[in-house]
């Protein structure tokens, strides 16, 4: 560290230039991670906050369109709930609708139909819970967007009127749309396309989008066995996120960008230390002639890289978090998550060190003999 720190100070403008690239990448990393977390939150927070370990869809459905295409019935739900590895199974309805409030505010809603006495029934933080036939319990984010408890929303094209009776504590969204819970039988009426007052066949009251599954404590659900018994296609909760509209496309795009940034950052540091090591070749030869071991010189070089990385990543993260907290709450899907940011910082530093290491191993090939004679 003796030489490393003195060199950092001596060549501070060069190190600063490289460090600012690292800092800018860290800023970008925080923003992307915020955007990524925000999009995930916006896309599937309604699913994440369900007390559910998995969903069983109709066996014919594809993952990408499972929540919009699948249709299961009570019998399949019963099959699942009879399984020993399943604590509870209940029908779950999921339907995206456009609605308009009585104050003429247009809202898009993800209607989650659940039985009021099932484990899926939401707990309202304000107002009442599910109970009234046409009662809706909406996400807190819908309240923030101007829907109030007591508002009557009418579902467009059907004209079905639903009253907001309660609000959930957190943000619950699905496919970038606010979630509204409603009793399953009301959901089934809307799903069947019945207009208010119109008669609905009894079979309409037996179906839903999927069977929501909760595993018995300390066990994992045997998906294959359950699927063959109930003729379903079941997914874990995490797998089912991919069935949310746009979820896979958004997350894979952002993950790709982040992967590229990690690679760029490691390469920038690798390239810098390659040039730096070559520039110092003669000095390194002198040090080796003086008896410095390869280990000593490598430790010194890595300490230098680590110092740069920690300082400039820290700087970048600070700026990123500052900018991020300005963005949060502006309507842009953005969420700063400590775990995601920590992962990004650790990865940037570790990959940066690997990049530096790839350059610094050249030290071992520096021949101390070249210290003799004139400067070459």
């Amino acid at each position: 560290m003796f030489l490393a720190m003195r060199e950092l100070w001596f060549a501070r403008s060069r190190f600063g230039l490289m460090g600012s690239v690292v800092a800018l990448i860290s800023v970008l990393m925080v923003l992307l991670s915020g955007l990524s977390s925000g999009l995930v939150e916006d896309g599937v927070s309604g699913l994440q906050r369900l007390p559910v370990d998995g969903f069983a869809f109709d066996e014919e459905t594809e993952v990408g369109s499972a929540f919009s295409r699948s249709l299961v019935d009570e019998e399949q739900a019963q099959q699942w709930s009879d399984r020993p590895d399943v604590e509870e199974a209940a029908l779950f309805g999921n339907l995206l609708v456009n609605a308009r409030s009585d104050k003429d505010v247009p809202v898009d809603l993800a209607l989650f139909g659940v039985e009021e006495d099932s484990f899926l029934a939401p707990e309202a933080a304000e107002g009442e819970g599910l109970g009234k036939d046409d009662g809706l319990v909406v996400s807190q984010s819908a309240i923030e967007e101007g829907i109030a408890i007591g508002d009557v929303l009418s579902v467009e094209r059907l004209g079905t009127e639903l009253e907001v009776v309660g609000a959930l504590e957190d943000k619950h969204t699905y496919g970038h749309v606010d979630v509204a819970y409603l009793p399953l039988h009301t959901w089934q009426e809307i799903y069947s396309g019945a207009q208010p007052g119109q008669e609905v066949g009894p079979e309409a009251y037996t179906v839903a989008t999927a069977v929501a599954l909760r595993a018995a404590s300390d066990t994992e659900i045997d998906h294959a066995a359950g699927d063959s018994a109930a003729q379903t296609m079941s997914l874990t909760l995490e797998e089912s996120f991919a069935a949310s509209p746009g979820y896979s496309a958004e997350t894979s795009t952002l993950n790709l960008i982040q992967a590229f940034l990690y690679a760029i950052s490691a390469l920038v540091i690798g390239a810098f230390f390659t040039v730096w090591t070559i520039q110092r070749k003669h000095e390194l030869a002198v040090l080796r002639a003086m008896g410095a071991s390869t280990g000593y010189l490598m430790r010194d070089g890595l300490a230098q890289a680590l110092a740069i990385l920690v300082v400039f990543c820290g700087l970048g993260l600070g700026v990123g978090i500052g900018v991020g907290s300005l963005i949060t709450g502006t309507g842009m899907p953005f969420l700063l998550e400590t775990s995601a940011i920590t992962t990004a910082a650790v990865l940037l530093i570790v990959l940066g060190l690997l990049g530096a290491l790839a350059a610094i191993v050249r030290i071992s090939s520096v021949d101390p003999l070249t210290a003799l004679g004139g400067r070459r």
Partner: protein, 235 residues
């Protein structure tokens, strides 16, 4: 590990201490194009003695420094420093031997650009695990650089750099001081100053000094002068 450094193992006065080369031969290159860089070289430099080796370029002077300084192992013959055999040491043991027993003074100082004069000396101590054998500021004072201890190499003249280089080489009280063309980049006056300083320090530190040079002008300060020609050493 049989190498033990330090002044207590020195046996002053006996003609076997200091630097001893016996029957040293070194061939460079491989296959058909081998060059005999050192051809049966025998040399003894006693502690406190300054020996100059002169000769044209390509005569094998650098090879002599490399072999004496445990940078290169000779093909045949033995190299001893204070009775410690250098031949047959591993690379790692060579490096350790260098930092504990040998001081190098390079052409034009070869100081580290990032370090101040006093840090150049501390660096030498740091490489050897932080033990400071001599006080770096006192040592700089002794070579006449006391008032420029905080300057970096680019703020020093060639002669000043060479003085710091000499001080750096002496930092760990080496048994052997190997000096490579110390006056190559200096004018006549500075050359004389630097070599006079080397002679003084050699005597004071009781170190066996071998200086390779082409500069016949500074030989007056040396105890002995040897001539090297085509890998052979003669008086």
């Amino acid at each position: 590990m049989t190498i033990t450094a330090g002044s207590d193992s020195k046996t002053h006065g006996k003609n076997t201490s200091g630097l001893v080369l016996e029957g040293v031969t070194l061939r460079l290159g491989d296959g058909d194009s081998t060059v005999t860089a050192l051809d049966d070289v025998n040399l003894t430099v006693a502690p406190g003695e300054l020996v100059a080796v002169v000769g044209p370029s390509g005569a094998g002077k650098s090879s002599l420094l490399a072999v004496a300084g445990a940078l290169t192992a000779p093909d045949t013959g033995t190299v001893r420093v204070n009775e410690h055999e250098l031949t047959g040491l591993s690379k790692r043991a060579q490096a350790r031997f260098r930092r504990e027993n040998i001081g190098f003074v390079f052409q034009s100082g070869n100081l580290l650009a990032a370090l101040t004069a006093v840090d150049q000396l501390r660096m030498a101590a740091h490489i050897a695990g932080g033990r400071e054998q001599r006080d770096p500021r006192e040592l700089l004072q002794a070579v006449g650089m006391g008032d420029k201890a905080n300057r970096r190499p680019h703020q020093l003249s060639g002669g000043e750099r060479q003085r710091v280089g000499i001080a750096r080489a002496l930092m760990l009280k080496p048994s052997v001081l190997l000096v490579d063309e110390p006056t190559a980049a200096l004018d006549r006056k500075r050359s004389h100053e630097v070599v006079r300083l080397l002679a003084e320090e050699t005597e004071q530190a009781n170190v066996a000094t071998m200086m390779v040079t082409h500069d016949h002008d500074v030989l007056e300060y040396c105890d002995r002068t040897l001539e090297m020609m085509d890998g052979r050493l003669s008086n």
